[in-house]
Amino acid sequence: MDLRGKKVIALGEPDGVPGPAVAECAKSAGADVILTLTACYV
């Protein structure tokens, strides 16, 4: 999957990679981040 030009939902978790950090990775890969969430998995 080439992320360039894709609309990315960055779905992180506090115990893993948080949403904003996932979003930074996606942006670096050329994606357009449309939603950033840091979900608490229950």
Binding site: M1, D2, L3, R4, G5, K6, K7, V8, I9, A10, L11, G12, E13, D15, G16, V17, P18, G19, A21, V22, E24, C25, A26, S28, A29, G30, A31, I34, L35, L37, A39, C40, Y41
Partner: protein, 104 residues
Amino acid sequence: MGLEDQAAVKRVAEEHRDVVVLLGTPDAESTQTLAQTVVAGDPSYAGPLAGVPLGLPVFHVFEPEIKTQVAGEVYEAQAALMEMSLETDKILAGLREVREGATP
């Protein structure tokens, strides 16, 4: 995934084309639950995505095909430490199971 988060995912998935979900989940179980939610619908049948199979492509930030697209210094700063401390193989195996289960 919380109900408000599900509603937000549903809204943006309906508003945009070429939507891809990128996960930062810390274990196989959370990876599978979140992946199922955005592929086949909320497995707990509690939220706005219950019975709503968005069918979104879903990847994990630790996957080699994703990681190689991220600038090295960005990956080092944002994800590399967690990749080293988590069970990446199990996380990615869990994601593969969801993908295979979602294949018609």
